[in-house]
């Protein structure tokens, strides 16, 4: 039987490190997109994705059996991103300006939508951006986001909907 994420991670915690390869296969693209949608920087997204797996191996003993793995790994990813932003603040090393970072895909109308959306997203407070990336891009359920952020289910829903409202105003300001 193919192991579930939880079984694979439990095996990693028990010393069977090869199972980490399985988790890398299942999650590295999603995590890379998670970071890329948040910061729009390929190189940095690669480094941060790598950091998630460094932490997965380093803190493998802290994983509790039965803990939903997807929520666990995205919580690690969020911590990795937060640490990065903290470091950035203290070292004054900023990202490139947003218009240089947002890569437009092919197709004029789609490209315009994607760029407008990215510009609007980047102007949201980070916690709102996190919520929207998790719920709308990564398609994590409110229940999972509640576990990741330590909030109640209803609080997550209210926050996501409020973030959408703020985003909508920014999006149409850019579009016009």
């Amino acid at each position: 039987m193919i192991p579930t994420d939880e079984e694979a991670m439990w095996a990693v915690g028990s010393g069977d490190l090869d199972q980490a390869g399985l988790l890398f296969d299942r999650y590295h693209v999603g995590l890379y997109h998670f970071f890329h949608r948040m910061i729009q920087d390929r190189e940095l997204s690669k480094d941060l994705t790598q950091n998630v797996f460094v932490r997965l191996l380093r803190y493998r003993g802290s994983y509790q059996p039965g803990q939903p793995f997807r929520a666990w790994i995205y919580r690690v990813a969020r911590n990795v991103a937060n640490d990065h932003f903290e470091k950035q603040k203290s070292s004054f090393v900023g990202l490139k300006p947003i218009h240089e970072r947002v890569a437009a895909p092919d197709g004029a109308e789609q490209a315009e939508q994607v760029v407008t959306l990215q510009l609007a997203l980047q102007q949201l407070p980070q916690s709102d951006r996190d919520l929207l990336v998790m719920s709308r891009y990564q398609e994590l359920k409110y229940e999972e986001i509640a576990q990741i952020m330590g909030l109640s289910l209803s609080a997550v829903k209210v926050r996501v909907h409020r973030a959408i409202k703020k985003l909508k105003e920014l999006y149409f300001k850019h579009e016009n």
């Binding site: 039987m1 997109h33 409202k165």
Partner: protein, 285 residues
């Protein structure tokens, strides 16, 4: 009904996400039709949320995988180097260390011994029974073997059914795993697996049940029950797993629900694509 603007927007988002049904959906649609402001608001939200659906165009380079392989190899090396040395002390002789390495290597997999011990016990039992046979008690022995087998089967079933009642999802996953180890599986077990697939609150347990059902493709009634279950599923991972299973079984009765899912605009794109794949694979040429 008087709603605040925030509540209105929240309902519109739920409507776009396909989360409203029945009377609530009708009420929102009816009230929206009466207000051009709400209609405009709805269209704007729809446009915004559709922009999220554009697929991510960047993909990670191979460098990420290469770095991970290196990281993993390094970590394994660290375990190989440091693991035993933790136990090293002035009093520890070389022989002891190698014994500890052996211990360490086997410790996490100690449960491996259980089936081995069981096999040995079974062998000894079989040998003893063989002796009896030689003494001319063939029929009695065969009856005894059947009885033992039935007992083992019954106790396996009991363990499985009891584990399934546990609160912890990992225990329930273990329970489902038992079904894979059983040589003979009766209707009671397949029914329990189906129930687990349909009603367990944890998605990983439901997924494990879906995978465990894969070996019963030779039972037409069970296949029909899986088709019915598939039609009711809403969780993308379960839908994808069941599509693969139904393709594997070449279960044509799944064509209808698969087609429906393929056309369901509220379903995630990946699920719709998999359903389309299923329709292609099952469609009679």
């Amino acid at each position: 009904m008087k709603l605040s603007e925030e509540e209105w927007q929240s309902l519109m988002i739920d409507l776009i996400d396909g989360k409203l049904t029945g009377e609530m959906k009708e009420m929102v649609e009816r009230q929206m039709a009466e207000s051009t402001i709400h209609q405009r608001e709805y269209e704007a939200l729809k446009q915004l949320l559709a922009a999220f659906a554009q697929p991510e165009s960047v993909v990670p380079t191979d460098e990420l995988r290469a770095n991970f392989s290196q990281l993993l190899a390094g970590e394994k090396q660290k375990i190989a180097d440091n693991g035993p040395s933790k136990h090293l002390s002035a009093e520890t002789g070389g022989k002891k260390v190698s014994a500890q390495i052996k211990d360490q290597r086997w410790a996490p997999k100690r449960s491996v011994w259980l089936p081995i011990a069981a096999s040995v016990a079974l062998l000894i039992g079989a040998f003893w029974l063989g002796q009896l046979t030689l003494r001319g008690r063939l029929q009695a022995t065969e009856r005894e073997v059947d009885r033992l087998r039935a007992e083992v089967q019954a106790s396996n079933q009991m363990v499985m059914l009891n584990l399934l009642k546990q609160n912890s999802a990992s225990d329930r996953i273990k329970a489902v795993g038992y079904a894979n180890e059983m040589e003979e599986v009766d209707e009671k077990i397949t029914r329990v697996l189906l129930n687990t697939l349909n009603f367990d609150p944890n998605i990983n347990v439901r997924l494990a049940a879906a995978e465990a059902l894969a070996r019963f493709g030779d039972q037409p009634q069970l296949r029909l029950a899986v088709v019915a279950s598939f039609a009711k599923q809403t969780e993308p991972m379960i839908q994808i797993t069941l599509i693969a299973l139904l393709i594997d079984w070449q279960e044509k009765r799944a064509l209808g629900p698969m087609q429906q899912l393929m056309e369901d605009e509220a379903a995630p794109k990946i699920v719709r694509a998999k359903a389309a794949e299923g329709v292609g694979a099952l469609y009679p040429l």
